[in-house]
C-alpha cells in the first residue's frame, strides 16, 4: 500500500474524475477529504464508500474560489488527520460559449473556480507541507489547455493557466521536497462529456488513435502514481492521458 497513513485532499470529489481519484487514493491506503461544492448527498456517498474500504474520510463543503473557505478546509483537514500530504486540484466547471457570445461572468466564474482555486489551495497547503518537508500537489489540467478548443475560451485559459502555475509552484516548492505536477486528461467519460451529442462523439473517436473515450480510472491511476513515493523525481510536469489524441 503505497499511500498508507497519508492524508489526501481532493477538490471536486463528489463525482466524475474527482470521485475516482478519491477512491483510487483510498484503495492505495490514503485517508481522504472529499471536497465538494454543492451536492452533499453525493459527497457523503463517496466518503461512505471510502470508509467501507477501511480508510478514514470526511466530506467538506467549500467554495474553492473563496480564500477563507479554502483556508478553513485546510485547517479542518490538519486538525482532523494531523497531516496533509497530498492535494489534488480537480474541481472544475464549464460555461461553454463562443468568444463572441461569452459573458464576462462566464469568464470570471470559470477562471475563479478552475484556476484561482488552484492558487488558493496550493498557498493554503504549502504551509503544512513545508513544515512536513514533504508533499505532493497534483493539478488536473486538460488536453484543451494545450490544444485550444472552440467554445471554451474560459475553460481553456484556466486549464492552460494551471500548467504555468504548476511549473512555478514546482520551482518554488522543490527545495522543501514538495512536487507539483499536472495531469491533462483527454476526453473522459463523465457527466461533462455525457452532455456531448452522439455525432460529436463519433467525430471525436476519429481524432483519438486509441479510438475510445478514457475512463476516470485512467486518470486516477496516474494521480495515484504521482502521489506516491515512486514519483519523487518528477516535478513541474504535465502528464497527458488522452489515448494519443494530442502528442
Amino acid at each position: 500500500m503505497t499511500l498508507a497513513g497519508k492524508t489526501a485532499l481532493v477538490t471536486g470529489a463528489s463525482r466524475g474524475i474527482g470521485k475516482e481519484i478519491a477512491l483510487e487514493l483510498a484503495r492505495n491506503g490514503a485517508n481522504i477529504v472529499v471536497n465538494y461544492a454543492g451536492n452533499t448527498q453525493l459527497a457523503e456517498q463517496v466518503a461512505d464508500e471510502i470508509r467501507s474500504i477501511g480508510r478514514e474520510s470526511i466530506a467538506i463543503q467549500a467554495d474553492v474560489a473563496n480564500s477563507e473557505a479554502v483556508e478553513q478546509m485546510v485547517k479542518e483537514t490538519v486538525n482532523m488527520f494531523g497531516t496533509l500530504d497530498i492535494l489534488v486540484n480537480n474541481a472544475g466547471i464549464t460555461r461553454d460559449q463562443l468568444l463572441m457570445r461569452m459573458k464576462e461572468s462566464d469568464w470570471d466564474d470559470v477562471l475563479n473556480t478552475n484556476l484561482k482555486s488552484v492558487f488558493l489551495t496550493t498557498k493554503a497547503v504549502s504551509r503544512q507541507m513545508m513544515k512536513q518537508r514533504k508533499g505532493r500537489i497534483i493539478n488536473i489540467s486538460s488536453i484543451v489547455g494545450v490544444s485550444g478548443n472552440a467554445g471554451q475560451a474560459n475553460y481553456v485559459a484556466a486549464k492552460a493557466g494551471i500548467i504555468g502555475l504548476t511549473k512555478t509552484a514546482a520551482k518554488e516548492l522543490a527545495p522543501r521536497n514538495i512536487t507539483v505536477n499536472a495531469v491533462a486528461p483527454g476526453f473522459i467519460t463523465t457527466d461533462m462529456t455525457d452532455k456531448l451529442p452522439e455525432d460529436v462523439k463519433q467525430e471525436l473517436y476519429k481524432q483519438i488513435p486509441l479510438a475510445r473515450l478514457g475512463e476516470p480510472k485512467d486518470i486516477a491511476y496516474v494521480v495515484a502514481f504521482l502521489a506516491s513515493e515512486k514519483s519523487s523525481y518528477i516535478t513541474g510536469q504535465t502528464i497527458h492521458v488522452n489515448g494519443g489524441m494530442y502528442m
Binding site: K131, E172, P175
Partner: protein
C-alpha cells in the same frame, strides 16, 4: 517568559543554523544570516506559531532585519 528578542533569536538559530552571536537586531535575514526567500517564509510561520500572531502578507514583506521582526511582534502583543 523570556523577552521577544531572546525567543526570536532562538528560533532563528534553530531554523537557520547560524551562530547566536550573529543574530543581532541589525542583522538582515537574507544577507547577514544567509536565509533564502523560503527560509524567511518559514521563519515567519514559526514566529506566528510561537507568538500566536498572524503576520499579514504586506507586513511580512517589510521584515528585513531581526530588529524588524522583533518590533513588529512587540507592536502586536
Amino acid at each position: 517568559m523570556s523577552n521577544v528578542l531572546e525567543r526570536v533569536t532562538k528560533i532563528i538559530v534553530d531554523r537557520l543554523g547560524v551562530d547566536e552571536s550573529k543574530v543581532t537586531p541589525e542583522a538582515t535575514f537574507k544577507e547577514d544570516l544567509g536565509a533564502d526567500s523560503l527560509d524567511v517564509v518559514e521563519l515567519v510561520m514559526e514566529l506566528e506559531d510561537e507568538f500566536g500572531l498572524q503576520f499579514s502578507d504586506e507586513d511580512s514583506e517589510k521584515i528585513v532585519t531581526v530588529g524588524d521582526a522583533v518590533s513588529y511582534i512587540e507592536s502586536k502583543l
